[in-house]
């Protein structure tokens, strides 16, 4: 028999899971070599290897789905489950940093002054750039919804325009946060306040960059006619991830920027 009589995808053998695992090992040992021995070669190799793995693996998924037709409804359902589970794992990742923040801020130690923010810390005014950041991400949630509906209504021009606006807003957020990081009077080395602030907002910023990259990939694919009005799971996954990033920011804003100031 040369054709399958089921709707599932029996994936061809691929080297990318192995290169992914190897790059993860290089990244972790590379970080240790950098932090403890100031040696960067392992880390650089790991970053290159993981970037190449991601590019080639996801390129193959696009080939399998868009060009070879393997993404039937049950296969797409599996991909949806996968993305949802991944986002849930990311929620747990951020939960750790929020735990650290609340642990430290709900019962401030006498060593830092017995109050929160600790003595000597001048927190950012939540009504200035942080508020702007909130407006930017919320707006990007509106534009990505516009993009999705335009896509479903087969409006190429508007879905491209709305997606581009979403990417621009994501880039604007990153620019604003980077300038905030340069302007704060406190740094990551300023005790528990600095640690919790920069770990939580820093990882969030990294996720904004990842999300923006995902959206940019969707834009390129849309321009290459990969999506149809009824089948565009890559776009939906990017949109879900983007909304997740937005929600994490809202929690950060309310907990760290507003309540914590």
């Amino acid at each position: 028999m040369t054709h399958q009589t089921h709707a599932y995808h029996m994936v061809n053998p691929s080297p990318w899971p192995l290169t992914g695992a190897l790059s993860a090992f290089l990244l972790t040992s590379g970080l240790i070599m950098w932090f403890h021995f100031y040696y960067t070669l392992l880390l650089a190799t790991g970053l290159l290897a993981s970037a190449m793995t991601m590019f080639q693996w996801w390129r193959d998924v696009v080939r399998e789905g868009t060009y070879q037709g393997h993404h039937t409804p049950p296969v797409q359902k599996g991909l949806r489950y996968g993305m949802v589970l991944f986002i849930i794992s990311e929620i747990f990742f951020f939960a750790g940093f929020f735990w650290a923040f609340y642990h430290s801020s709900l019962a401030p130690t006498p060593q830092t002054g017995g109050h929160w923010p600790p003595t000597g810390i001048l927190p950012l005014n939540p009504m200035e750039v942080p508020l702007l950041n909130t407006a930017v991400l919320l707006a990007s949630g509106v534009t990505i919804t516009w993009a999705h509906h335009s896509l479903m209504e087969a409006n190429r021009k508007e879905s491209a325009q709305a997606l581009l606006m979403t990417i621009a807003l994501g880039a604007y957020f990153t620019y604003l946060q980077m300038s905030e990081y340069s302007e704060t009077s406190f740094t990551i080395s300023d005790g528990i306040y600095g640690s919790t602030f920069f770990m939580a907002t820093g990882f969030h910023g990294l996720h904004v960059i990842i999300g923006t990259t995902f959206l940019a990939t969707c834009y390129i694919r849309q321009q290459m006619y990969h999506f149809t009005s009824s089948h565009h799971f890559g776009f939906e996954a990017a949109a879900w991830y983007w909304h997740f990033v937005d929600v994490v920011w809202l929690f950060l804003y309310i907990s760290i920027y507003w309540w914590g100031s």
């Binding site: 409804p73 508020l131 516009w146 479903m152 508007e158 740094t187």
Partner: protein, 97 residues
């Protein structure tokens, strides 16, 4: 054996239908230009108006701040990644006057 294709159903987001209350692309485009982007513009203006150089806080060598238990793995190991010498003092005080 041919498998029946189950159509993927999505709640309020189905195809071109705007339905009652209008949740189609037209509605979200309107929200973008009438609510979302003006809010960003207003908040940008607000942040810009409130920006500007503030007098920097006096340096007090608190032991719980400017912690250096290990040197940073870049530069001279004594500066944070986004170090701004105007507002970030080193453990020994501000670098620039």
């Amino acid at each position: 054996m041919a498998l029946p294709l189950r159509p993927l159903s999505r709640g309020l987001a189905s195809a071109a239908k705007e339905g009652h209350g209008g949740t189609g692309a037209r509605t979200w485009r309107l929200l973008t230009f009438v609510l979302a982007l003006p809010s960003v513009a207003l908040c940008t203006l607000n942040a810009y108006l409130h920006s500007g150089n503030r007098p920097r806080p006096e340096f007090i060598a608190y032991p719980h701040l400017r912690i250096r238990t290990k040197r940073f793995p870049w530069g001279d190991g004594n500066h944070t990644l986004f170090h701004n010498s105007h507002v970030n003092p080193l453990p020994t005080g501000y670098e620039s006057p």
